[in-house]
Amino acid sequence: MTPSLSADLTGPVAPVLRERGQREVFCGLTGIVWLHRKIQDAFFLVVGSRTCAHLLQSAAGVMIFAEPRFATAIIDDRDLSGLADANAELDRMVEQLLARRPDIKLLFLVGSCPSEVIKLDLSRAAMRLSQRFAPSVRILNYSGSGIETTFTQGEDACLAALVPLLPKSDAPALLVVGALADAVEDQLRRSLAALGIAQVHVLPSRSAMELPPVGSGTRYLLAQPFLADTARALEGRGARRIPAPFPLGAEGTQLWLRAAAQAFGANMATVRAATALQAERAAAALARIRPALEGKRVFFFPDSQLEVPLARFLHREMGMQLVEVGTPYLHQQHLAEELALLPADTRLSEGQDVERQLDRCRAERPDLVVCGLGLANPLEAEGLATKWSIELVFTPIQGFEQATDLANLFVRPLDRRTRLRV
C-alpha cells in the first residue's frame, strides 16, 4: 500500500470529551519496568512507600530477576516524624546500594507521591550524591509519582532528566527519541541508514555512558507519543522536532521514515526505493490478517498515550471502526499528524471517569476493548473481548517487521473466542 496523506486529512471534528473522575491507570513509576531493561547499566531507586514497592513488583509480574536493577527506599514513620533525617537516610540507602552493586554507572532517584508530598528534594539529593560518587557513578532524579505522571509519562520524565547531560554538538544529526526494543531499534537504524541519513543517534541508549550529542544541528524524531517534557528539553538544547506520525503499522512506519528523509533532504524516489520492499512485505502480510479485524468495532480505555496511533493503525490498515479512543493525555501538537489521519467522527476522550466510561462501553458493546489489567477480566466476564493495553507497551510493535505482530495482538483475543466451546 502506498500511503497517501491527501486521502482524508480532516481529522476528528467533534470536541474532545474531557473527563475528570476516577482514573484507572498506572503511575509513572511503572516505566521502570521497561527502562531498566533498556538502559542496561542504570539502576532506579524509588524513594517512596510500601505501595510504590508493591506497584513495581506487581507490574513487573513474573519478571523476577536475580537482583533487579530497581529498588525502593521505603519511607517509614521515623523519616516522617523527624526522628530520622530523611536526607541522611537517603544517603545511607544510596551508599548501601552502591556498595552492593559496583556495576551501576547511572543511578536515578525516582520521586513518588509520598516523597513529593513531604517535599523531599531529590534534585538536591542527586547533586549532593553525585559530587560524592563522581566520577564512577552519575546520579540523576525524576518524578514517577502518580500525582504528576501517568504510566508512560514516567519514561518521559526519565529521558527529560537525561537531556541536560547530553554532550553538545551542532553537527547535523538525527536523534530518535523513545525507548524501543533493541531489535526494533536496530531495524529502524538500518532503514534510516538506507535513506542516506549518516548520523543517527538514539535516546535512551543502551549504555548510560554513551549519551547521544545534541545541538542546533539536531533534528529529533519521536518514536513514542508520550514524550512531551523530553521534547521540550531537547528544544531547549537547540534541537528541532520532525513532525511525523508514529512508526506503528506499515503506513505509520513508512510515513515516519519519510518524514526523517525529507528533513535530511532525501528525494522521494530514494525513499520509495529504500522502503518499498519492506513496506510491501508488511502491507501484504497485514492484508492477510485484515479480514479478522475488518469492520469490527474497537473501544480504547486510556492507558499509555499510544491509543491515538494504535487507533489510526487499526482503522486505516485493518479497517476497524473506532467507537471511542480514550487517552490519558492528548498532546495536540505531537499527535497532529496522527489526528489528521483519523476519521472526522472519531470520539476522542482525554482523562477519565472510569465508571462513566464503562457505562459507555457497555452501552456500545464493541467487538474489542483495549484496557488495563484491572478491567480486562471483569469485562471478559461480561462477554466483551479485551486486549490488555500493557502488552502493547512491553511488546516490540514498531517498525515494518513488527506490523503483523501488532495486528495479531488484536486478532488473538477475537480468534480465541471463536475457538472456545466452553
Binding site: 503511575c27 512507600s49 510500601r50 508493591h54
Partner: protein, 506 residues
C-alpha cells in the same frame, strides 16, 4: 528508610481491599492517587476474579493538592454510594493521602449516609498488608456484630473466620474445614469475610464459638468477640495430619461433641504414603522453611513429624507473630529468622544449604538460583497459587495435597538411589533433573560456594567432589572446608575429603 527490592506484603490498604473484595455488599472508598489503582490487578489478574474489587479511588493529582482534596473525597464517596448501593462502606487513605490528613472518617460522617460507614486508620508507614486486613475485619465486626439472641442449647453452631480474597488457598480451605466441622454435627453460622455480607456479620454473635483459620487475619476480631460476646476461639491451624487431629479434638471439645467418628473415619493418605518404602529417601532431608507465621510454623511440624525431615531453618515475615515463631524455632532447635528483607532470607538459605526449601514465591526464585528444589507454602500470591483444581492446604485432604506438593520437587525415591549407584554415568548424571520434571528443570545454575580464604582444593579433590551426587555436594564441600579450616589445612586433597567424610559421618 528501608531498602526493598521485593516485598512479602503490600501496604495495609491492600489488606483492607482483601476484606472488601471477599465480602458482598461492602464498598471501600480509598483516598489515593491514580497509580494506586494497580491493586485492582492483584484481584482481577492474579486471582482471576470476574469482577472489579469494590473500591473507588479518589485519584487526586498534584494540581488538587493546593485545592480541595477533601471535597474530592466527599464527591467520590457520594457517587460511589449512589452507584453501588452498598450495605456498608469502608473509608480510608492510602500512604499518600495519609500525609494530606484529610480525615476520611470525619468527611464521611459529615455526609450522613444512610448506611454504616466504617472509618479505617491504617498507618501505611508502620504497618503492612496482613495487619491491614486484620484491622479492617476487626473494625467491620466491631461496627456490625450484634449480641446473641439465640437460646443456649440445641445443635452447636460455630463461625469460620479468616478467609479473604487473594488468600493462599483460602477458597478451598473453607470447603474442606466446613465439611470437617459439619461431619462433627456442628452447624456453621457465618463464614467471614469470604462470601459474607454486612448482614451476616451482624449475626456473628449467634454462634457458640469461632474457628480461626488464619490468625494473621481473624485473630484481632476473634479476640474482641471472645471479650465482648464470650465466644471462645480455636487456637490450632488445621495444617497437616497431627494439627488437623488436634483441631478436630479442639473443635469437638468447644462444641461438646464426640470427635471419634471424624478422627477414626479419616481418609488421609499422607500417613501411609509417608510410611511406604519409597518415602524412605525423605528421611533426614534438610528443609528450610519461610512464610507467614501460621503456614511456616505448621510446615515445620509437618516436615518433622509427618515426613521425617530435619528442620534446617525456620522463619517468617509476620513480625506480629514473632513470639510464636521463636517458640517453634526453639522447639525445632534452629535459630528463628524474623525479617521482611528477602536478601536476608536468601543469605540464610544459602548458608543453611538445605535439600528442600518450603517458602513463598520469593524463595522459589532464590531456590531456583541456588539449584535447590522448592515448594510454595504461603503468600505473597502468584497466579500459580490459584489452581483450577480443588487443592486445600487444610484438613485431611489438605495434608494429602501438601504431601504431593512438597515431595514433587524432590527426586523420586528409587531415582535417587539409582543416581547414587550410577554416579558419573553419562546419561544418568547428577545434573539431570528428576525425570518427572522434564529437561527444563535441569538448567538451574549450580551452587557456587567460594572457598574459604587461604584454602584451595587440589584438582584431584575437586574431581572427587564432582563425583558426589549434586544434592549433597554442597554439604560435602562445606563440611570438608570447615574440617580443613579447623585443622589449619590449606590444601584440600582427596585424603582431606575422606577424612572429613569419616569425621562427619560419626
Amino acid at each position: 528508610m528501608q531498602l526493598a527490592m521485593w516485598t512479602y506484603e503490600g501496604p495495609p490498604h491492600v489488606g483492607a481491599m482483601r476484606i472488601a473484595t471477599a465480602m458482598i455488599g461492602v464498598h471501600y472508598v480509598l483516598h489515593a492517587p491514580q497509580g494506586d489503582t494497580y491493586a485492582d490487578l492483584l484481584f482481577t489478574m492474579i486471582e482471576r476474579r470476574d469482577r472489579r474489587p469494590p473500591v473507588t479511588y479518589t485519584t487526586f493529582q498534584a494540581r488538587d493538592l493546593g485545592g480541595d482534596t477533601a471535597g474530592l473525597f466527599q464527591n467520590a464517596l457520594r457517587q460511589a454510594y449512589e452507584r453501588f448501593d452498598p450495605q456498608a462502606i469502608l473509608v480510608g487513605a492510602s500512604c499518600t493521602a495519609e500525609l494530606l490528613q484529610d480525615d476520611p472518617g470525619g468527611l464521611a460522617r459529615a455526609l450522613d449516609l444512610p448506611v454504616p460507614v466504617v472509618p479505617l486508620e491504617l498507618p501505611s508507614y508502620q504497618r503492612k498488608e496482613n495487619w491491614g486486613a486484620a484491622e479492617t475485619f476487626y473494625r467491620l465486626v466491631r461496627a456490625l456484630a450484634q449480641p446473641r439472641t439465640r437460646e443456649k442449647g440445641g445443635r452447636p453452631v460455630c463461625n469460620i473466620l479468616g478467609p479473604t480474597a487473594l488468600g493462599f488457598h483460602h477458597r478451598d480451605d473453607v470447603v474442606e474445614i466446613r465439611r470437617l466441622i459439619e461431619r462433627l454435627g456442628i452447624d456453621i453460622g457465618v463464614v467471614a469475610p469470604l462470601g459474607a455480607s454486612p448482614a451476616d456479620l451482624a449475626r456473628i454473635g449467634e454462634a457458640d464459638f469461632n474457628v480461626v483459620l488464619y490468625p494473621e487475619i481473624a485473630g484481632t476480631a476473634a479476640t474482641w468477640l471472645t471479650r465482648t460476646f464470650g465466644q471462645p476461639a480455636t487456637k490450632t491451624a488445621p495444617l497437616g495430619i497431627g494439627a488437623t487431629r488436634d483441631f478436630v479434638a479442639e473443635v469437638a471439645a468447644l462444641a461438646g461433641v464426640d470427635p471419634a467418628p471424624v478422627l477414626n473415619g479419616q481418609a488421609a493418605r499422607l500417613p501411609w504414603y509417608s510410611r511406604s518404602v519409597d518415602s524412605t529417601y525423605l528421611t533426614g532431608k534438610r528443609v528450610f522453611i519461610f512464610g507467614d507465621a501460621t503456614h511456616a510454623i505448621a510446615a515445620a511440624r509437618i516436615a518433622r513429624e509427618e515426613l521425617g525431615f530435619d528442620i534446617a531453618g525456620l522463619g517468617t515475615y509476620s513480625r506480629e507473630f514473632a513470639r510464636e515463631l521463636r517458640a517453634a524455632a526453639a522447639e525445632h532447635g534452629v535459630e528463628p529468622l524474623i525479617t521482611d528483607d528477602y536478601l536476608a532470607v536468601e543469605a540464610a538459605i544459602a548458608e543453611a544449604h538445605p535439600d528442600l526449601v518450603l517458602g513463598t514465591q520469593m524463595e522459589r526464585h532464590v531456590a531456583k538460583r541456588l539449584g535447590v528444589p522448592c515448594a510454595v507454602i504461603s503468600a505473597p500470591m502468584h497466579v500459580q497459587d490459584f489452581p483450577a483444581r480443588y487443592s486445600p492446604q487444610m484438613g485431611f485432604e489438605g495434608a494429602n495435597v501438601l504431601f504431593d506438593t512438597w515431595i514433587h520437587p524432590l527426586m523420586m525415591g528409587l531415582e535417587e538411589h539409582l543416581l547414587s549407584m550410577f554416579r558419573g554415568d553419562f546419561e544418568f548424571h547428577e545434573g539431570a533433573a528428576p525425570s518427572h520434571l522434564g529437561a527444563a528443570h535441569a538448567d538451574a545454575p549450580p551452587v557456587v560456594l567460594p572457598a574459604n580464604a587461604g584454602q584451595s582444593w587440589s584438582p584431584e579433590a575437586e574431581q572427587e567432589l564432582a563425583r558426589i551426587p549434586f544434592f549433597v555436594r554442597g554439604k560435602a564441600r562445606r563440611n570438608t572446608e570447615r574440617f580443613a579450616a579447623d585443622r589449619g589445612v590449606a590444601q584440600i586433597t582427596i585424603e582431606t575429603l575422606y577424612d572429613a567424610k569419616a569425621h562427619f559421618s560419626r
